[in-house]
Symmetry: D2
Subunit: 392 residues, 4 copies
């Protein structure tokens, strides 16, 4: 009999999470195809089938997932009445919340205060999840809203010892995302960070994952504009078309956009998007501008407009413009699913620590040694293909 | 002392050719950088330096190259007065011409009629070129306007014997492009086809190149819209975003555009552009539409607008639009230069026959066995990188 | 009690017609607002209220209107289940059909052959419509697919006498659109031509409308790209920005698009779109190119991409690009409704013959004297406002 | 003999000013046509001919105008060597400068400090200009960089008496733009404000202009994005297409863009752009977002990207996107010239005070009574046409 893999999501009521859960439930119900799932055509030994995934997780919102999904407006009424009707019976576990770390997001479904208490609660939630659902293995995936970037000089973030002390003292420098990451790694459960928040990429936690042999990966899912940037920029480099400027603007109207309306969360987001271009091209693009705007008419539909100015042969100027009318959660949810399947595969293979092979899925790929990541899409694809190996 | 490589261009007075010649003359004069030259940063043993290239070639237009360039409007007045002033003293050799094969292009600078006479003239032109300029090696590059597609059933095109007979009988099924290709291969000079015309990809000529060990490559330089298509389509496939339709339209106002205003030449052009997408994606995109329009306000500036409709997770629809404001000759000229350098390298290495490694530079890469080509840009890049080998 | 106005539509099962009928039924049911209805905010004496409109009409398709609407994909499932459920009970009357005049459209719901028989049938359909529904007045609106342009030299189209003879002889030069127009005018019922087909703009029919005092208006509803063209071009003229070229391309995937896939129907359509620009600007734009492509992924959604090249002060060049993601029937249906209301108003006011005041609604406004129409949007608006007069 | 009209420009060394001066000098030299000049085709009695305009003005930069123009990169080398060579011999008069009011702009060519001294200097500059050049009449046009918006509560700005006191006391609330406006009005010279700065629209100064019968007009030249907004929005209103959101972004790289990189100047600019849409549509568009970014690759070329979300019939959504690749100074300079000609005409006609008839040229038209301005382009055109009257 197939082994069941539990996916415990931080931010279970969010747009990406409910879309992911609905998509898998619909696959189980036979009412959803596999379009948009990058690894759907691969036949990799030991990789969990989509229908063997079971979902649970935490959220500050206490509504059932069906209600949450209706609010996000990603799933159609037909989806919710047919394949995705299971969402009506699902409800998130109480979550760690902190207005200090993510200003625009709040809710009542909170667990008790205190860092150590939170870690204990997260781990007992996981135990209960495993038991109740008869899971063989588990993965934790962070899909919560973006937290602000922590101060690099905070002493609690400097070493694992300091971090443990910070936990004891409820240091506010330690964010909810870090608590979930710590709890998962400590419990031996693989952890993926799909957000720009600092979590398992904090040096002490990355070190802990390596030592304990727990696979971790991140960060910030590469969905729309950055995805295209990492596809196109390598080709411009190969053609020696010099990029003089790259102006990227985004409009979106979902709660992710609202969270980014907080300047501190935005700064965190832009941080993960900005270095990509220079790293790929091998030189600094002074006029690389990235803007994200909360614009309600779009709801979860997201639109990116990019303008690229470049210089070619004989110093002559050219322009390339991209206009991507995409859907944030529709692009993100299948990536989150594939990351969960890959981390579970890594755990089975005994591949612990930072999994750079998953760089393809992230805007700012976490590297094992903290060095510069590979950003070019085709290169990332080659890395993943090599790790996945031959079809079973 | 550096060895000199002659580049004999079919269509020397054209926009791409004059831009290529001007660019290299300006490099020699120190007034042009290397932007836009894809292999500028590679250090490959035995590859000719840009400044060691010497240009000559054929054209129906008998004006000096400076006058031709002014007409095309690609080079600036400043270019023509400074680094590119050498063009004023260059003039094309009389060319083979045929209204029957390319309706909208004509001129007075013609060589004598007759297939065998033409071949003899082309080969004696090459001999004279070598001698006059003290060349160590040569390459022929076809940059002439697009010819109409020949009838596949023409008996003269079926085998090398039939082709030789056709030459003897001045069969009109044999086009100017084929005469140049035959003459070059017969003379042991590498031949590149930067146009969509049928030339060294005619089965008998490809066979002859293989037997004689002469490197050939083609066809149809991959500059603007198709370049982007082969960059983006592989990434959509990797993300399992199903392409429902791809609408591509182009506007350009140079003589290439005028030639394409002849429906038969256009059909030939579209033929080389159309199969790319299906080959990359692995399924047929029924609504793949490609249009090219002659639109004079742009001159040599070319604009492509692409709209891609795709289906993602949960069957939801998204759109990507590309708007490329590019310059035809500015993109094409450096590719033609790199192809010439690579074919010369192949000749030195003894790599004869069809050079698939150069697929990166072509819309419809010619394959050694006539089979399906590799179209994905990153895959093509890997092929070229492997063939080029380690930096010297 | 309010007076009821019957709107008899040629092409009742089409996308525009079913959208119009559904919208009014939903207004009656209280489930549709007035957005998109240009005259919703005006309070004009004697103008019929939206809820006083009653619909009937002819179509070659014999399915109920609900089934037709589902096929077009404009109305949502929710629309069809709620306010628009009345469509399920509506069915078109048998129509005049002719493969010769509109190649890609056919159906089984045909009336008997013969021109005089058809006219008799159309008029008795109108009588029955009036009686069955207790109508006070009626209007005929042509929303059928585009017919090919008739040969200007056909003798039957030269005068009213010749036309009458042509009717007697079943001359194939006389198209279905002309039969409907003749029948309506002859019955004293106002007639609007929302298509590019030749109908009441045929000189003998326009003359007949004037003599009989029957209001007529046309032709070709101004919805998307041409609407924007007539809004923007006058402003470019006022700023003395010289238009060097205007490239317009359209993609759409509904049955209107399929009809236009027939080159003869397309020529007819382009004819009504082409003269607009030159008339507004006062000079000939040599590079004015208009393309329409049948592209299925869009269904009834239509997309226009326009590129305008212009020259400003000091001869410097600029570009404006428009990308309109619109919905053909959603834009067209309310215009058809307003045209019907205005023609009914004209009839009440005794304003017979060609109603130029409705130019605002048409791509190629029919003029009373056959002279050049007013195309500029603001000028057209002023004409309509003046005719409508002060609010009641 | 033709009467000469002096145009004294605040910011004479700027991109718009040098372009305007060059254009007129080139017209005088016969090397420039009239494209881009809105009123070129009108024949209005008493309106000054283009060749009868003479230019002078103030600027903090002391370089000759040719050098300034080269720096801006709007004029071509050919322009500067031919028709516009006169700029080499022109140099701006010392200007009033204030880092406090416009942070990013500075220069050495300053007049002596002190408000009253500045006013005296400006007026004696005008006297000398008139005398030296044999002028019949003069106009002052403000083309300087945008100043920050003054605090509305500043007591010196409340009344003319308070303003006079503020002048005596060198109150820093009084900006350079106000000093030029005061000086011009006080000297009986018409004053136009082409910038978003507060100047003759300050209530006490508007009152003074009315009392003295001096024509004034403003403010903020309507060139690119707002021009299109006022062209398109009225048509959307007429079609009852409800605007749900309008997202406008701009990239430009000239010194105007640099000035706007100062948040306070930007706020001032956005203030004049923001109200346009709501005023035209008659309702508040909550999601109306306007962004301006300093992006150097473009230089004086400006690019605007607009996305409009709208709701049509049956509540269905549509989108319109505009992409305007324009040239800031090429659009602005001819407007500044026409404004000068119109104000001079107003002075001759005795039409003093705020000239609302010039609304067409401004983003935020100044009104005589301080009430809401007319923003719709066609309505503005009608106002101007009526005032200009019949051709001479």
């Amino acid at each position: 009999m197939a082994e069941k893999v539990g996916v415990a999501i931080v931010g279970l009521g969010g747009a990406v999470a409910t879309t992911a859960v609905a998509g898998i439930e619909m696959i189980k119900a036979g009412s959803n195809g596999l379009s948009g799932l990058p690894l759907a055509d691969r036949d990799i030994a030991d990789m969990a089938a989509y229908r063997d995934l079971e979902f649970g997780g935490w959220d500050l919102a206490d509504a059932d997932l069906g209600t949450c999904a209706t609010r996000h407006g990603v799933l159609t009424e037909a989806d919710l009445q047919n394949g995705a009707s299971a969402l009506r019976d699902m409800r998130a576990w109480p979550a760690v919340g902190s207005k200090a770390h993510c200003a625009n997001i709040d809710g009542n479904n909170r667990m008790a205060d205190g860092h150590r208490a939170a870690i204990g609660q997260i781990q007992s939630d996981l135990d209960r999840f495993r038991e109740d659902r008869g899971l063989d293995r588990m993965v934790v995936v962070n899909l919560a809203s973006t937290e602000k970037t922590p101060d690099a000089n905070e002493s609690s973030l400097a070493s694992l010892d300091a971090f443990e002390e910070g936990l004891d003292g409820d240091d506010t420098a330690i964010s909810p995302a870090m608590l979930y990451a710590y709890a998962a790694i400590d419990a031996g459960v693989p952890y993926a960070n799909f957000t720009p928040s600092v979590a398992a990429d904090l040096a002490p936690l990355a070190e802990m994952a390596r030592t304990r042999g727990v696979p971790v990966a991140g960060k910030d899912g590469k969905t729309g504009q950055t995805f295209l940037k990492t596809v196109i920029a390598p080709a411009l480099r190969e053609r020696s078309l010099h990029v003089d400027g790259w102006f990227s603007t985004n409009i979106l109207g979902n709660s992710d956009g609202l969270a980014l309306d907080d300047p501190k969360s935005l700064a965190s987001k832009l941080g993960t998007k900005g270095s990509v271009l220079d790293d790929i091209l091998g030189y600094k693009v002074e006029d690389h501008i990235i803007m994200i705007h909360y614009y309600r008419p779009r709801g979860d539909d997201k639109e990116a407009w990019d303008n690229i100015d470049m210089t070619g042969f004989l110093g002559q100027k050219m322009q390339l413009k991209l206009n991507f009318l995409c859907k944030d959660s529709i692009l993100a949810a299948p990536l989150a699913i594939e990351i969960a399947r890959c981390l579970d595969l890594a755990a089975q293979r005994g591949d612990g620590g930072v999994r750079e092979e998953l760089s393809l899925f992230f805007k700012l790929p976490q590297t094992a040694d903290g060095g510069a990541p590979v950003h070019g899409f085709a290169q990332q694809q080659a890395m993943l293909d090599e790790w996945l190996g031959e079809p079973a």
